[in-house]
C-alpha cells in the first residue's frame, strides 16, 4: 500500500491506534515478539501521560453498550518520570513511530510534559489530551476555543515536534475549537475522544462505574464521529486523525473521505488485537476496487 505522510512522518498505512486502547508493552507480555512482527498500527499512540503518577479510577471501570462500551479508566499511568524510565525505552523498540499523548491540569503542567518529550528523539510527535478541566479556569480546555488557543500559545513554542490536539466531542462546537487550535499553531487535530455516558448498577441503582460517569466509544459513536470529523475538516486545513467506532475498512474509508489523513482504531482492538492490520488491508482492497462496495447496487436488477 502507498505510504502516508502525516506532519512530516512517513507511515506505512493510515491506520493507527487510539490513545489508551492498546498497551503495546502489555500486549508484548501476552503475545511475545510475534506482536512486533505483526504490529497492527502504522504509528503507536501511547496512553495519556500525566505529570504525577495516577492509579486510575476504582473498579468497576467498564460497562458494555449496544455496539459499544463505557469506560471510566481514569488515566492510570506511571507519571512523567515513570514513563521516561520504564515505558519509553520499551516503546522505542516498536517497529513504528511513537506518538506520546499527554495531559495536564494546568497549562504549566502541559508545558512541562511537552518540554520533557521534546527532548527525547524516541518521540515522533505529541498528542495533547485536552478533554479535562483546567483547574485554574474550571473550563474543559478542549470544549472552549479560547482555552484551547491559550494552551496552544503556551506550549507551541516549546517544541518543534508535531503537536496534535485531541478534541472532545462533548462540546457545542468542535469545529470552532479545531480552528482555534490551528490558529494557535497546532500541527493536527484528532477526534473524537469518548462521549460522556453513564450506567446504573442493576441492583443498587447507584452509578455502576467507580468513576460514576465514563466515556462512550465503539460502533455506537461511529456516525457522531463521522459528523464531527466532516465538520472539522470543513474548518481547518491541518491534517486530521479521525476515530470513533471504526470496525471495518469501509468505516476507515468514510473518515478519510470526510477529510481525515489518518484513522485511529480503539475499541475494535479489544475485540480483535490485530483489528488495525485487518482494517488497513480492507481499506487497501476497497481503494483498489471501489466497485466491491457497489455489490448491493446491482443486487436488484
Amino acid at each position: 500500500m502507498s505510504t502516508v505522510d502525516f506532519c512530516g512522518l512517513t507511515l506505512a498505512h493510515p491506520i493507527v491506534n487510539g490513545s489508551g486502547t492498546f498497551d503495546a508493552i502489555a500486549a508484548r507480555r501476552a503475545f511475545g515478539d510475534a506482536l512486533l512482527e505483526r504490529f497492527p498500527f502504522a504509528a503507536f499512540v501511547s496512553k495519556t501521560v500525566t505529570l504525577a503518577p495516577r492509579e486510575g479510577n476504582p473498579p468497576p471501570r467498564l460497562w458494555e453498550l449496544p455496539g459499544g462500551l463505557i469506560n471510566s479508566i481514569g488515566l492510570p499511568n506511571k507519571g512523567l518520570g515513570g514513563y521516561l524510565a520504564h515505558d519509553l525505552p520499551q516503546l522505542a523498540e516498536l517497529p513504528v513511530p511513537l506518538v506520546v499523548n499527554v495531559m495536564g491540569f494546568t497549562r504549566e503542567e502541559v508545558a512541562r510534559l511537552v518540554e520533557a518529550f521534546d527532548a527525547r528523539e524516541e518521540v515522533a510527535a505529541l498528542e495533547l489530551n485536552v478533554s479535562c478541566p483546567n483547574v485554574e479556569t474550571g473550563l474543559v480546555m478542549g470544549a472552549d476555543p479560547a482555552e484551547t488557543a491559550g494552551l496552544l500559545e503556551h506550549v507551541r513554542p516549546l517544541t518543534r515536534k508535531p503537536l496534535i490536539v485531541k478534541l472532545t466531542p462533548n462540546a457545542s462546537d468542535p469545529p470552532a475549537v479545531a480552528a482555534a487550535a490551528q490558529e494557535a499553531g497546532a500541527d493536527a487535530v484528532s477526534l473524537i475522544n469518548t462521549l460522556k455516558g453513564m450506567a446504573l448498577d442493576p441492583r443498587t441503582r447507584e452509578p455502576w462505574l467507580g468513576g460514576r460517569t465514563g466515556g462512550v466509544s465503539g460502533a455506537a459513536v461511529r456516525a457522531i464521529a463521522l459528523a464531527q470529523v466532516h465538520a472539522v475538516a470543513e474548518r481547518v486545513t491541518i491534517p486530521i486523525v479521525g476515530m470513533g467506532g471504526v470496525q471495518r475498512g469501509r468505516d476507515a474509508r468514510d473518515l478519510l473521505d470526510a477529510g481525515a489523513t489518518l484513522v485511529a482504531v480503539g475499541t475494535e482492538s479489544f475485540r480483535e488485537p490485530l483489528a488495525g492490520a485487518r482494517i488497513a488491508a480492507e481499506l487497501a482492497r476497497l481503494r483498489q476496487q471501489p466497485e466491491r462496495d457497489r455489490a448491493p447496487a446491482t443486487a436488484r436488477p
Binding site: 486502547t21 473498579p59 458494555e64 469506560n71 467507580g210 479489544f270 488485537p273
Partner: protein, 276 residues
C-alpha cells in the same frame, strides 16, 4: 512459591469450530477444535465470541468478547480440543450456550497467568482444590495436570448446578439447599480438610464471596492459597485497563497479572462489580 505459568497467545484470534456441546445440569460444556493453538496452562483463560451474530441479544448486546477459563485440554495430536464450561447469566453466555456442533467462535488465547505448580517444599503440602459454581472450570484442567488426584471440594447452588461436579474427580460436594452432598458452604468442607491435615496448598476459583471466605480461612491458618479471580474484561490482553482488582501493591490488571493471584497479595477478594 514457584514461578507462575503463562503460555503466550498468538496475537491473532482464531476461528474455531464447535465439535461438541454437552449439558451438565445448569451448565453447558463446549468442545472446540484448536489445532494449531498453543497448549494452555491450568488457570489461563481465553476471550470468546460467537463468529456469527455476536450482538442483537437482550439490550442489543453482547458486543465485546467474554472471558472463560480453559476447563480442559484434550490433546491427541494433530488435534487439540479445548473445553469451556459455560453458565448462561446474560446475553454473551446466552449466545455461546446456544452454539451447536459446527457453529464457530472466535478465540483469543491462552491469556493471563495460571496456577503456579505446587511448591515442592519442604514442607511437602498436598494440593486442595476448592471451587464454587462455574468456578470449578479451571480446577478440572489443574486436576488433570497434577500427578495424583487432588481432592476437589465443590460448592453449588442446587442439584442442577451440582451436576457440574461430574467434571472433576475425587470430589466432595456442598450445596446451598442441601439437595446434594453437604448442606452448607464449601468452606465447611475446607475447614474439615484442613483440620484433618493442615499441610495443604489451596487452589480456589469461584464467586467473590466464596473466594474471600477461602482467603480469610487460609490466611488465618497460614495455608498458602492461589485464587483465580474474576472481573469484567473488555480485551483480555492488557489493552483497556478495565479489569483491575485492588492488591496490596495497588491495582493490577487481572487479565495480565492474573486471573490467578497469590492470596497473600490480596486484602480482599470482593472486587467491586465482579462476580455479580
Amino acid at each position: 512459591m514457584s514461578a507462575a505459568a503463562r503460555t503466550l497467545a498468538p496475537p491473532e484470534r482464531r476461528r474455531l469450530a464447535v465439535l461438541e456441546r454437552q449439558e451438565y445440569g445448569a451448565y453447558v460444556v463446549l468442545s472446540c477444535a484448536d489445532l494449531d493453538g498453543p497448549r494452555p496452562q491450568p488457570g489461563q483463560f481465553a476471550m470468546l465470541m460467537a463468529a456469527e451474530r455476536w450482538g442483537g441479544g437482550d439490550g442489543e448486546r453482547p458486543f465485546l468478547p467474554r472471558a472463560f477459563s480453559v476447563m480442559r485440554v484434550d490433546s491427541a495430536p494433530p488435534t487439540q480440543v479445548l473445553q469451556f464450561l459455560l453458565e448462561d447469566v446474560g446475553p454473551g453466555t446466552h449466545r455461546l450456550c446456544e452454539l451447536r456442533e459446527d457453529d464457530e467462535l472466535w478465540l483469543l488465547g491462552p491469556l493471563g497467568i495460571g496456577f503456579a505448580p505446587p511448591d515442592p517444599g519442604p514442607p511437602a503440602r498436598r494440593p486442595l482444590l476448592v471451587g464454587g459454581g462455574v468456578g470449578i472450570a479451571p480446577l478440572a484442567i489443574l486436576q488433570d495436570e497434577l500427578d495424583a488426584d487432588a481432592p476437589a471440594l465443590l460448592g453449588f447452588r442446587d442439584a442442577a448446578h451440582a451436576e457440574g461436579a461430574a467434571l472433576l474427580r475425587a470430589t466432595r460436594v456442598a450445596t446451598d439447599d442441601g439437595s446434594v452432598g453437604h448442606h452448607g458452604l464449601v468452606t465447611d468442607l475446607l475447614v474439615d480438610e484442613l483440620d484433618r491435615d493442615p499441610a495443604a496448598e489451596v487452589y480456589a476459583c469461584g464467586p467473590p464471596a466464596m473466594l474471600e471466605a477461602v482467603r480469610a480461612l487460609c490466611a488465618e491458618r497460614g495455608v498458602p492459597a492461589q485464587l483465580a479471580l474474576e472481573s469484567g474484561m473488555a480485551c483480555g490482553f492488557g489493552a483497556c485497563f478495565g479489569c483491575v482488582v485492588p492488591t496490596r501493591s495497588g491495582y493490577v490488571r487481572l487479565c495480565l497479572d492474573g486471573p490467578v493471584l497469590d492470596a497473600a497479595e490480596l486484602e480482599s477478594c470482593l472486587v467491586p462489580g465482579a462476580g455479580h
